[in-house]
């Protein structure tokens, strides 16, 4: 797969724009999926996924052909998603440390019984609930959870995509899991 992609990229580098169509065809679904889980909205996801492919095309000259193309592409996509999320930033974060405590975050302050109003709305599909809960995660946890559990990437690859030390990725996955557990335990 990577071999085909690299061949196509070399063609694109030579100015053959049509060769890029196959690259989009191969990764379109994955990139769209990441964006959808990150943003929780089909329309926005499509928008950002397209933008990611556009950016990749424009900057294809800066791609190191010896590296994995998918990692590079996912990185562009996740960065764009994070930018988009930040633009509609809420003014508080659940994972902000509570003043005067050591490592305690807002998550520990949420009473578990009151955190799931969606239980009332039984008509809502479970899928939507899960997606909404993922969307509630702060972006740094959301990214790793999406890459790990939806794209099923290895911790090493996630560390490369996000350009973060492996230890940081692990910590974020642990915290992300705990946060989601709090949100989803009563589903």
């Amino acid at each position: 797969m990577e071999a085909i992609v690299k061949k196509r990229i070399k063609q694109v580098l030579k100015g053959d724009q049509d060769a890029y169509a196959e690259v989009v065809e191969i990764y379109g679904e994955k990139v769209f999926h990441i964006c959808y889980r990150m943003l929780g909205n089909r329309h926005e996801a499509e928008d950002i996924a397209q933008e990611a492919f556009l950016r990749a095309y424009v900057n294809i000259h800066s791609f190191n052909i010896n590296l994995k193309f998918s990692s590079w592409l996912y990185r562009i996509a996740t960065n764009l998603c994070i930018d988009r999320i930040r633009k509609k930033k809420p003014d508080y974060y659940l994972d902000a440390e509570v003043a005067g405590t050591d490592g305690l975050t807002m998550y520990s302050q949420i009473a578990s019984d009151t955190s799931l109003p969606e239980e009332d709305v039984e008509s809502l599909e479970l899928q939507e609930t899960i997606q909404r809960e993922i969307s509630k995660l702060p972006e740094k946890y959301r990214t790793v959870i999406v890459l790990k559990y939806i794209e099923e990437l290895s911790l090493n690859e996630i560390s490369k995509i996000l350009d973060l030390p492996l230890g940081t990725v692990k910590t974020r996955i642990h915290r992300g899991r705990e946060a989601l557990r709090n949100q989803l335990r009563h589903v």
């Binding site: 999926h33 889980r37 959870i145 939806i150 989803l184």
Partner: protein
């Protein structure tokens, strides 16, 4: 019951499949005895299962087409610039040829005046050059934008550019007779002349270099 803090860490190590055999044993032993941690662990696994259960959503069918439509058009200019960057030698060569051709064309433009190589016994009447009967012209004769009428003898080549030649039955040319009319013939003539000159330069230089 207060559980050891590392139990939660072990749970995550377990979920990342990075737990050591010793820690896994410790985790298992603890989970068997602690209801609270059991629930916690169960909830974590359930969370993961829920997240992974999210159904696959299909990408819009026209996604690729939309992306391709958005790509910047491969501009001629960009392609040209890239080509120039990648082929500096060819660029230099083609630039040289372009300038050369330019100067040739401009000299074609300027060359519309009548001219003839100067030999003492040539007769010029208006735009006709006459090689008189019985005369012997030594050397090459070149006529530009005029006619030549050969009644005598020319010991050399005759070249007529943009004109006509009449060779009388008594006339004689020892060398070649060339007529150049169309611009491409003219160009070819120029190129051959330049090449001959270049060869001549080398021919002259070689003996000197041999010294």
């Amino acid at each position: 019951m207060k559980c050891p803090a590392e139990i939660i860490i072990y749970m995550h190590e377990y979920l990342d499949e990075e737990i050591s055999a010793k820690n896994e044993q410790e985790l298992r032993t603890h989970l068997q005895s602690c209801k609270e941690c059991q629930t916690h662990f169960h909830e974590l696994r359930k969370t993961i299962a829920l997240v992974q259960s999210t159904s696959h959503i299909n990408v819009p069918s026209d996604f690729t087409a939309k992306v391709m439509a958005k790509l910047p058009k491969e501009k001629r200019k960009v392609g040209f610039q890239r080509w120039v960057r990648h082929h500096p030698l060819l660029t230099a060569a083609s630039l040289f040829i372009m300038l050369m051709a330019g100067s040739l064309f401009s000299s074609w433009e300027q060359d519309h005046e009548f001219s003839v190589s100067k030999q003492p016994n040539l007769i010029v009447q208006n735009d006709t050059v006459i090689v008189p009967k019985g005369e012997v012209i030594k050397g090459d004769v070149t006529v530009k934008n005029g006619k030549i009428q050969i009644e005598g003898q020319v010991e050399g080549n005759v070249t007529v550019i943009n004109g006509e030649k009449y060779l009388a039955s008594a006339g004689q040319v020892t060398g070649e007779i060339k007529e150049v009319n169309a611009i491409f013939d003219w160009l070819w003539y120029h190129i051959k002349k330049t090449a001959t000159e270049v060869v001549n330069i080398f021919d002259h230089e070689e003996p000197e270099a041999a010294k």
